[in-house]
Symmetry: C2
Subunit: 366 residues, 2 copies
């Protein structure tokens, strides 16, 4: 069970190693030539990182876990470890963890001596299907998620299903939502078919390690699809890469109004996917049947899809977060809307804010 994917993101080449086992330091040094290296993990992935580095004397920077730690102090700790370890421009940062660890380590790698080498051993489902691939790095600042960051794809990315054996169910659920999102972008519908089979098993309490063949193919297809989209628009200067934000405008606003950390990112994305189908239907873009398929698929994994979301906070905060998102796109609201086969970016005056209140408050539920 091993497969490799290669991508070219602008001037960078990323090689993804999808496999059962975790890589050993020997494998990593064979793939990434470097005179010196450091391991970066958080407290949850400390043991995995240590086992990868065994038999080598690699300095190890252990960060506190969780989104709360995703700030400049963590970046500075990584940079300090690199300096103490004597790394030069040809030094290698080995990130071992989920999205928070890989975003922080990749950001630090992108600025250490104006850029050193980077590989990522992704240890969560969300990391494997989303954060590890595509070069977005960043950290939170002034209460805004990823306000600071760079584009800096890793040279090698290791996705090892064995890393998921100890992953908590909440983390599985967070990752599944991004898998569903990617499936909705796929033209042929193969991922969606696989997910339809797995949903009821997952909802019944199964993690998906018992279905490792299907899981392997889903992760592989997700990596391939995301990689191709990012290749077409590495730094999100067009609208191609924005497709990957399907459901995310709603998700960010929900996370913001609920208070960050109240919901997992995946729970918010799942809820946002259903909303994007409803909005799309209301705008005449998403066929009714398609919007219902999306709702049913999300529901089959046991996600909360009600409007308003039971954990949603103040409406003004929700709207404020949506408006904050606007700033990034020349002052216009921007949504990714599902179509019959895929999705499209809608960004203009078609979307009036007054559509949003009834949508979020349950009047458009299909």
């Amino acid at each position: 069970m091993m497969r490799e994917h290669y991508f070219t993101f602008g001037k960078f080449v990323s090689q993804v190693h999808l496999q059962k086992e975790l890589p050993r330091a020997d494998d990593i040094f064979q793939d990434n030539r470097a005179s010196r290296s450091i391991l970066i993990s958080d407290i949850h992935t400390e043991a995995i990182a240590r086992s990868i580095g065994q038999n080598y004397d690699i300095p190890h920077c252990v960060l506190p876990g969780g989104e709360a730690a995703k700030g400049w102090p963590a970046v500075e700790r990584i940079l300090a470890a690199a300096k103490a370890g004597g790394l030069g421009r040809d030094g290698l940062f080995i990130a071992v963890g989920g999205g928070v660890v890989s975003d922080l380590a990749a950001f630090a790698a992108s600025i250490y001596m104006r850029g050193c080498k980077l590989c990522i051993v992704s240890t969560t489902l969300l990391g494997m299907v989303d954060a590890a691939l595509g070069g977005k790095t960043g950290f939170d600042l002034f209460g805004i998620k990823n306000l600071a960051g760079t584009f800096y794809p890793a040279g090698h990315i290791y996705l090892s299903l064995d890393a998921l054996t100890t992953l908590p169910r909440r983390e599985w659920k967070s990752g599944m939502a991004e898998l569903i999102k990617t499936a909705l972008l796929e033209d042929g519908g193969e991922m969606e078919e696989r997910l339809k089979v797995l949903g009821p098993a997952f909802e019944a309490g199964d993690l998906l390690l018992g279905h490792d063949g299907a899981l392997f193919e889903l992760v592989s297809a997700s990596v391939r699809l995301k990689g191709r989209i990012v290749e077409a628009d590495p730094e999100e200067s067009g609208t191609e890469r924005a497709l990957l934000n399907l459901g995310h405008t709603f998700a960010h606003a929900l996370e913001s109004s609920a208070g960050f950390g109240t919901l997992s990112h995946g729970e918010a994305v799942a809820w946002g996917l259903v909303r994007s189908g409803e909005l799309g239907h209301h705008m005449g873009i998403t066929p009714l049947e398609r919007a219902r398929e999306i709702k049913d698929l999300v529901l089959s994994f046991g996600y909360e899809i009600a409007t308003p979301h039971p954990k949603m906070g103040d409406w003004d905060v929700f709207l404020q977060a949506l408006r904050g998102d606007k700033k990034q796109w020349a002052g216009k609201l921007r949504f990714v809307i599902p179509t019959a086969h895929g999705a499209q970016v809608v960004q203009d005056d078609l979307i009036e804010e007054r559509l949003l209140y009834p949508l979020i408050n349950g009047e458009y539920m299909l």
Copy 2:
């Protein structure tokens, strides 16, 4: 008196506007389309920045001056100003100042929302002939100059000779050394001829505003030469861009052993240029006559060129700084050595550390 240069650095395009007058905000907004912008200056360039922004309500972030301020706190202040000003990814950072301001503002621009727009109004000679062009950004960390940074060329760079009217002599002298360095890299020798005329006038106490035609041509030639070198190797992955470090390995070690701030960067570079000629002669690369020409040119501007330098500190610190520099280049010492017409990078075991003690302590003076 106006000239434009265009360069392509990887995926970036930089346009340099060399002129007498400072640009006005109207000019800047015509060149750089942006929905919102902020001005960034330090206390020394605050008035210039304000005059550029007059008639517009542009938020203005004023940093403390000097190299001591070149740390993360300054970067964070710039990012806070951008957020408070409501800038999105299409927002514009307008940096007004010398190398410290432009390095900090450019770094902040490179990470704000993973990269926003950037233009630089360079107000010092050193900034004009060095820092403003070529995309190196950065700040000091853990006592190491520019340990953190990115490559992020400005879209538009304004070099206005009028900005130099209030520049202190020490700052002129710092910039002249980089002009001399660039002249030594030029094949035809035109810059060198112009400098030979200006040296004695400068040494006699003249600033060069009275020679503004010659100054204009020197800055223009320096920009053109540096731009072409950076185009060939934007991120210093080869050895082409390293040519611009002529004299700098010695300069950094001298600055470090003297204590940063004791000497201006240019004073250290001037001293380093002479040393690189001596080392080159000792290695059989630089003809004796060429090494002497370099020494005479540097001396004609009144720089201290003695070995050991009177402000040089501990030999061990000097050597340590040289060795620190090694780390960046796969563990080898790397010097740029003048040739009969230009320079070359020498990086291998040819340069033994035991050559350095007699060189720095005056035994090889020509």
